[in-house]
């Protein structure tokens, strides 16, 4: 019998979303609710000399005015380096300094005018290269005194992360090379720009000393831990309730509005406080993608096989580390691409600067490093005279290849993604000059992404007496369709109708632990938890049915909430079974925990097992672009994007992720760019920070590749992140194909294109 897995089932959040009934954090109203506003630092780096809040406290409607001195806590999951509100020092333009709670948002904003803060500006460091210099101003002079996790730092410098990895014999590898190609590439800061801004409501309970928050987050339990650890509370003293999330893309994990809301709520005598950022605040003072400068040196043989690669990556965390320590480590590993490279060395460093906080961003470092890896891949191909598709195919990982820690890779569909993207774009032919001022070209790029490993997911499945099923899973719907795919898997695992399955909103007091809705891990991890719990609950139902019907449970099966015998003859519906034959007030509950910690798939070289990933994702994109050689404007005409997802639980939601990733990648690569002058973002508005519209939409061909993974639920891996990473380098490589220029620094702007074209023409006219 066919089930729901593998079908284009309509999303379970459909009706509430098309009718406007879906409730997001920004929509919540509560009795007695106050509204917050934040006075922010105008300086990239300064000492706070004094703060005078007297006039603001006396302003109409103001109920609380809070400074960092009033709420002197630090948070941070890798390094506890960030205050809820600035304490004595500000480290970036936009850092929260004073928070106000008032009866209305307008009153709170007006009270900000009445606050006087005296600063002594300090030397600022806003360039990540300069942050490495011996005499660089220190963003955190007390770095060595902060609590931190197990990773390495360099005390008394701005280096908050240093990571090295080596495999093989790098010198011998370069000695064996026929050609060595070197290049430096850079990736810029980007806003997540989720349409729902950061917003939170916090309420303080003085009797317990705990907080309840209504938030928009993709990782409730990590956010909870971070807040609780920061406040010195047991985790369960902080309770998070999650509404619909209006987009996250990795950006809704660290305390942003939450930090301010909590600080205010502590001072409002139990009244809840709502804090919603403006778009300007969201763009300039929530988080951005960490910029990176990447140096690659690669040795290859004459026929295009790798002998060695060294990678030196410098990451800019901005003023605080948030979740970027992991990016500097994990992200740097994937700069090797999905390729067999026998000898390799990685040096990754991350520095503080006096700029906006950075954080995890769809792809967790892969969007930056894929740009470098795949741009250089085409340089190598060009210099060797090998076709860009061919050189990728001959070096791409295959099932059973060792990863860079020796882990034997499983579920490797990268070759198929390259082949399918190549075929869909019509590789090898292009109409070069459709008009006198236009040139066309095609390009290809691929990528590899691990998932957070090890990690765990718990779920509870409850079957009510009317046959309805709730799957209690802390996997907030951030838009990626997880509610739908989890419901589809639950329906098949149990044997119930999809329409009977619901996934209640996450409440950390009621919902068991789950890792983040991040790292494309939800389908695999929560899916496995659901499959296990679903199978158990199905067995329980069949045992009950067996007793009632006087049949061996082994002779029964259930599908679409109907119990039938092995010949498919329907015997009784689940609803009837539970209503008629179970006791009054009956509900059937099963919980399960899934963790990847003990999987044999993770076996690797001693000491570096932690690098292993429970599954791997691959995405290859081929593009066709058109360049206006008079204006430098690039129009992306077509993108074929092939992603290895394992098994597509729902091809429609997979397509949504692929298409959405391509559009985000296109927008990231061509339009989005912060203009930062002296540490200040000048274009912190959607008027000038430009996100792609439907008018920028190319013809996208989403292609789903299904490699086999033995431990995946129904074979499904993950999909959320990969598609955004390959788009910019595929466009960059198509640009080279079209007009023979290479832009090494993202984004690819018309100005850079024109300048590079002019330089190329000059060079050609000289030779």
């Amino acid at each position: 019998m066919t089930g729901y897995v593998g079908t284009r089932a309509a999303r379970v959040d459909s009706v509430e979303k098309v009718t406007g009934k879906a409730v997001y954090a920004v929509d919540l109203q509560m009795a007695g609710m106050l509204h917050g506003a934040v006075l922010r630092s105008p300086h990239p780096h300064a000492r706070i000399v004094s703060i005078d809040t007297t006039a603001a406290e006396a302003a109409p409607g103001v109920r609380a005015v809070v400074t960092g001195r009033d709420f002197p806590y630090l948070f941070g999951s890798a390094i506890k380096d960030q205050p809820f509100l600035a304490i004595d020092r500000v480290r970036y333009v936009g850092e929260p300094v004073v928070a106000v709670a008032a009866d209305t948002e307008a009153m709170a904003q007006e009270a900000l005018d009445l606050i006087r803060v005296d600063y002594t500006p300090l030397p600022a460091v806003v360039d990540m290269r300069l942050a490495l210099a011996d005499n660089a101003p220190l963003v955190h002079p007390d770095l060595h005194e902060y609590w931190k996790g197990p990773h390495e730092i360099i005390p008394h410098t701005n280096v908050n992360t240093i990571y090295r990895h080596e495999r093989g014999d790098i010198e011998a590898g370069f000695a064996a090379a026929d050609l060595i190609v070197e290049g430096e590439y850079s990736a810029h800061a980007l806003s997540h720009a989720a349409l729902e801004v950061h917003a939170a409501i916090a309420e303080y309970d003085s009797s317990s000393g705990g907080y309840t928050l209504w938030v928009s987050t993709d990782r409730p339990f990590m956010l909870r831990s971070e807040l609780a650890a920061g406040l010195g509370l047991d985790s369960s003293r902080v309770r998070l309730k999650v509404a619909q999330v209006g987009g996250s893309f990795g950006g809704k994990g660290v305390p942003v509005a939450e930090a301010v809301a909590v600080a205010l709520a502590r001072h409002t005598r139990g009244r809840p406080v709502r804090v919603e950022l403006s778009r300007e605040e969201d763009l300039t003072a929530s988080q951005v993608r960490p910029p990176a400068i990447m140096k690659l040196k690669t040795g290859v043989t004459r026929d295009g096989y790798f002998t060695a690669r060294t990678a030196e990556v410098l990451w800019d965390s901005g003023a605080y580390t948030a979740y970027t320590v992991g990016i500097a480590i994990r992200g740097s590993q994937t700069i090797m691409g999905p390729y067999r490279i026998p000898n390799l060395r990685i040096l990754s460093r991350q520095v503080y600067t006096n700029k906006s906080i950075t954080g995890s961003y769809r792809g967790y470092g892969t969007t930056q490093v894929t740009w470098a890896c795949e741009s250089q891949m085409d340089d190598i191909a060009t210099q060797l005279g090998i076709d860009p598709v061919a050189i990728r195919l001959q070096n791409a990982y295959e099932e059973g290849d060792p990863y860079l820690n020796g882990q034997i890779m499983h579920g490797v569909g990268v070759v198929e993604t390259i082949e399918k993207a190549r075929d869909a774009i019509g590789w090898g032919s292009v109409e070069r000059q459709p008009a006198p001022h236009l040139r066309r070209g095609k390009g290809i790029a691929t990528m590899i992404k691990p998932t957070m490993t090890p990690s765990s997911s718990n779920c509870v499945i409850n079957v009510e007496q009317d046959g309805r099923v709730s799957v209690v899973a802390a996997a907030p719907e951030i838009g990626a369709g997880q509610d739908t795919v989890l419901a589809q898997m639950a329906a098949d695992a149990i044997g119930v109708a999809l329409a009977s399955v619901s996934i209640p909103a996450t409440d950390t007091a009621l919902t068991p632990y789950n890792g983040p809705v991040a790292s494309s891990r939800t389908t695999y991890h929560m899916g496995n938890a659901i499959v296990a719990a679903g199978a158990e609950i199905r067995d329980n139902i069949l045992v009950l049915a067996g007793e009632v019907l006087g049949v061996e449970p082994d002779d029964l099966d259930m599908h679409d909430s109907v119990i039938h015998d092995n010949d498919g003859l329907a015997l009784i519906t689940l609803e009837d079974l539970l209503a008629k034959y179970s006791g009054e007030g009956y509900s059937m509950t099963v919980g399960s925990r899934f963790s990847t910690a003990d999987s044999p798939l993770l076996k690797a070289d001693a000491g570096v097992e932690w690098i292993s990933s429970i599954f791997w994702m691959f995405c290859t994109q081929a593009t066709e672009i058109e360049v206006d050689i008079e204006t430098g404007v690039i129009r992306v005409l077509k993108v074929a994007a092939a992603t290895d997802v394992g098994k597509a639980i729902n091809p429609m939601t997979c397509e949504q992720q692929i298409e959405g990733g391509v559009i985000m990648g296109l927008s990231n690569g061509l339009f989005e760019d912060f203009s930062i002058r002296d540490g200040r973002i000048e274009n912190g508005s959607f008027a000038d920070y430009k996100v792609a519209t439907i008018q920028d939409l190319p013809e996208i061909t989403p292609i789903i590749v299904e490699s086999v993974h033995d431990e995946a639920p129904f074979g499904a891996k993950g999909i959320g992140e990969p598609a955004a990473a390959a788009t910019p380098p595929a466009i960059g490589n198509a640009l080279y194909d079209a007009v023979g220029i290479r832009i090494a620094d993202l984004p690819i702007t018309p100005e850079k294109v024109l300048r590079a074209l002019a330089e190329k023409n000059l060079a050609e006219s000289r030779s």
């Binding site: 209305t104 801004v197 204006t631 430098g632 274009n683 008027a687 008018q695 920028d696």
Partner: protein, 296 residues
């Protein structure tokens, strides 16, 4: 999200009342037309007006009609209506084109032609288009009505010759002579073409009986502190046949007349390049709109 600060709010029902309210409120008063710039400027606190005088309850300030000598467009006419007017499309194509790429459709449905001119943005879309159509604005003030070419209204970024109690009430675009054509082109950041102009160019031409250009206007946006005319380029074009090499020289001249700044959106040198390229494209399109194909 950002909230608007308090202000005294007026909804006058006659022009006289509006002018007096503005005069009484002084320099800190603002006229509210479509609001698509005013409300933004107030939200980002570029301005903090003490009073807002909303003109929309005053009858007769909007509408497009053909009158003796030309097309009259009320200052409160929505940009959407300018864009969609067949009268404007037929007689004043550069204006219709500029209106069709001014911000996004739901903004155009609020924004007004008078507001766009009064805002005096260097990047104005409608300004250059009105200039190449020799549009004349009617302005009502304490001392009565006056008229002036739109081109003469601009003083600097965000400033016009209007006194704080003056209200623009309508524009008159003269009937196009035989052989007339016009076009507007701009380049923004994204593909849709509706972003704020990195550079924009409007051109109108009148092609004579022998195929030569007897008159023309070239106006530039985002290429100087205000929308400006490229007068030397126009002089160069008059009397020429609309052929590629002549147009190239004219575009070069327009490019020399541009005085762009570099800012977060584009460098001055890139804008200078765009001045040349977009002038060339606008010239070709204007000539085509006059019914003549440019010979290459």
């Amino acid at each position: 999200m950002k909230r608007l600060r308090s202000f005294a709010y007026h909804e006058p029902t006659t022009l006289r009342e509006a002018i007096e309210a503005l005069a009484a409120a002084g320099d800190q008063a603002q006229v509210l037309a479509g609001g698509t710039d005013l409300i933004v400027d107030m939200k980002i606190e570029r301005i903090r007006p003490s009073a807002v005088v909303n003109l929309k309850r005053i009858p007769g300030l909007d509408g497009i009609e053909s009158i003796a000598g030309g097309t009259r467009i009320g200052a409160l006419t929505k940009v959407t209506d300018v864009e969609g007017s067949s009268l404007v499309q037929d007689r004043h194509p550069a204006l219709a084109q500029a209106a069709s790429i001014l911000a996004s459709p739901p903004v155009r449905a609020l924004a007004t032609i008078g507001g766009n001119v009064g805002r005096a943005s260097p990047a104005s879309d409608l300004g250059p288009a009105l200039i190449v159509h020799d549009a004349v604005a009617t302005i009502e003030g304490l001392d009565g009505a006056r008229e002036d070419l739109v081109e003469n209204l601009y003083v600097g970024p965000g400033t016009t010759t209007l006194a704080s109690s003056d209200i623009m009430t309508s524009f008159l675009l003269p009937d196009p002579p035989p052989g007339f054509g016009s076009a507007h082109v701009k380049l923004g950041k994204r593909g849709g073409g509706t972003d704020i102009a990195l550079a924009g160019v409007s051109v109108s031409v009148v092609i004579g009986a022998r195929g030569e250009i007897v008159d023309c206007r070239i106006a530039l946006a985002s290429l100087a502190p205000t929308p400006i005319r490229a007068v030397a380029a126009e002089d160069m074009l008059r009397g020429e046949l609309p052929q590629e090499d002549a147009l190239v020289a004219v575009a070069e001249s327009a490019c020399r007349e541009a005085k762009p700044i570099g800012d977060m959106r584009a460098s001055a040198s890139y804008r200078t390049t765009l001045a040349r390229v977009l002038t060339m494209r606008a010239l070709r399109a204007a000539v085509q709109s006059a019914g003549v194909e440019v010979a290459f």
